[in-house]
Symmetry: C2
Subunit: 386 residues, 2 copies
């Protein structure tokens, strides 16, 4: 598999910025203030694992016209200088006296009219990545009334992926598929689940992942207790259902899917549970067409795995996927978002088995004009037996 | 190397909570509200990679007396139920109508007096991990004046590590050391830096890392341009200086150190630069004793790498280390924090070479009664040549 080219043509950042600016004009927002990794990368292409450190704050402003403006620690100037952003203002961070708030306030004043409004992401799945005391200082400095929500502009734009973005997600999925195909090399009776986790991440890297930010899973007889736990050192045993759920990254884009394996032949309950998961996934796939709503896809799946009830403890049956492991929107009964071409989603049904154990299954799809297309190689009803 | 036991005895969480409650009483804070991964894990032991998903918000309250109380999405109830926390209140998230704000407000009302104060981390290196609109809704619901800063209580507690925490960091360092020892297996002329990055992460996993959240580095002739870039696909060439800086995790604790390698014999400028980095590191090590201030250690190092000036673009020469890749405090001129026994720090000097290229070096130390002790195996003045 030849990887697609890394990065994006500058035209893509121009188009994203222009679309945001058009929505800003509609919403009466004079500048967007971005503080988190995906927001900043979306408009600039600034890609680094350095966000792992909580020390530095990073600010990018999307003004009403023109390119984004970066207000960042000097340690990032060299890397930001390689993006299409030209106006890069820096301070030497950490600075215990101010840490960029003064520079940010001055830049916002310069880029917006006197009583202009500044939109900050404030809805679900967002947070403001700066100290609360500094946000309050910024509000006092430029006027608290000037800071408002961002009318979910960035979230709405990110929800629909470009061809180039889809190629990157597709490549991440392909790497994940190759790693899952090799699970029989690393998992067998007697091997600790923690060892399987380490080895699975190694396989993802060997198959081409840049890094593996997410791996969850479980192994237990007759299903598992939850889907977010780290691995323990208990050895795999015959009769275990082992699930691995990975979010690996290629060029800044995630895949997010899982596979279930049975150590030896599965019990009837487990086999039936798995078949039901696949049936639900296929029903979700069939319902996922442009013009359908997220809740329609949810109900198509939920009617199979949890008929007549409102959904499991997991809270949803899938979600958006892209620069983050999980993105807006969600497959829940309350989500009326219309599906459109270019959306990338996970279908992630869960079943509760007799005795209270659970199983989940997950595939990745893209919405095209005629309907959904699998990015993953969809799993058959029969479980893979190790 | 036998790993230490995973997890913590319950007594450690009891002690952390009791210390926080004592500081809360001093500061006039009736409850701490925690929203981020390290804060919540510090008081509860809740360890999961699921934080990679931005969808769910998580809340833990440390009341004036008694155990922490969790207000979390139902998907996390099973895992939180395995910690020492007993009072776990859940909602099915994502919930577009409320998403836990109502439950959180009610729980805070129940656990605090009528006009009681609620402390939220608001200083540098912190952020509030919930949507800004929801924070404002919470303020309207319980009274904005009741929400105040946390008086840096959690930051101050986390700054000094327990014996058990130090054992985990030490094990992470040991794994990193074993991986660095194997770099000659994976790096040679003609291999792409991106391939070296993938292989180095594989080595970290093979040596026992649970996962590898952070890897940065560079390779270029005569030094590099920055220290936060991802790898490109350019092949290594004779004369390159290659630096790898890893933050791998074992049982939720990081190491954070780097190593420089020369592809073929280094130039005189590079060799001298490296020797200066080691000299500065040793000067920092000698200065790092209980009772010294962070700025004393900074000056001991900076007088060697950047005499008479205020520090480089990197902004600091080291930092705390533990549950996060970088933690409070910082080795900068403005930091007057007193070093005390149990603090784990990185010493991370940088030099600018002729032509504007840079080099950095990093070791990890723990402060003990008599002075600093290296957790890493300190590098000699001479560069490793590949």
């Amino acid at each position: 598999m030849t990887p697609p080219p890394r990065g994006f043509p500058e035209a893509e950042f121009q188009a994203r910025t222009a679309r945001a600016q058009s929505l800003m004009a509609e919403a009466g927002i004079d500048a967007l203030l971005l503080t988190t990794e995906p927001e900043i990368r979306y408009y600039t292409g600034f890609l680094t694992r350095f966000w792992e450190s909580p020390t530095r704050v990073w600010f990018v402003i999307v003004p009403a016209k023109g390119k984004p403006v970066a207000v960042i620690p000097s340690i990032g100037a060299h890397l930001m200088g390689q993006t299409w952003v030209q106006d890069i203002r820096t301070w030497q961070a950490p600075d215990y006296a101010d840490d960029g708030v003064g520079l940010l306030a001055a830049t916002l004043q310069e880029l917006t009219p006197a009583k202009g409004t500044i939109g900050l992401a404030d809805q679900m799945e967002s947070h403001v990545r700066m100290p609360l005391a500094h946000l309050r200082r910024l509000e006092r400095s430029i006027g608290a009334r000037r800071i408002m929500g961002d009318a979910t502009i960035t979230r709405r734009l990110r929800q629909v992926k470009s061809t180039t973005e889809i190629a990157k997600i597709t490549h991440a999925v392909t790497i994940g598929t190759s790693a899952f195909d090799r699970v029989p090399e690393i998992a067998r009776e007697g091997v600790a689940l923690s060892q399987v986790f380490r080895d699975f991440q190694r396989l993802c890297l060997e198959e081409g992942a840049d890094w593996v930010p997410y791996l969850a899973g479980a192994a237990a007889p007759g299903g598992y207790g939850d889907v977010i736990s780290p691995a323990d050192d208990a050895p795999l045993r015959a009769g275990d259902v082992m699930m691995l759920d990975t979010g690996l990254i290629w060029d800044g884009y995630f895949c997010d899917f899982d596979r279930n394996f049975s150590l030896g032949p599965p019990s009837i309950a487990v086999a039936e549970g798995h078949a039901q998961l696949i049936e639900a996934t296929q029903a979700g796939f069939a319902a996922a067409k442009p013009g359908a709503r997220m809740c329609d896809v949810f109900h198509a799946m939920n009617d199979i795995v949890d008929p007549g009830r409102g959904g499991s403890d997991a809270g949803r049956l899938g979600h958006g996927l892209g620069m983050q492991l999980t993105e807006w929107p969600s497959l829940i009964a309350a989500d009326t978002t219309l599906l459109e071409e270019g959306m990338v989603l996970t279908l992630e049904p869960g079943v509760t088995l007799p005795g209270g154990k659970i199983m989940v299954h997950e595939e990745n799809i893209v919405i095209e004009a005629q309907g959904a297309r699998y990015l993953t190689r969809p799993q058959g009803a029969e479980m893979v037996v190790i």
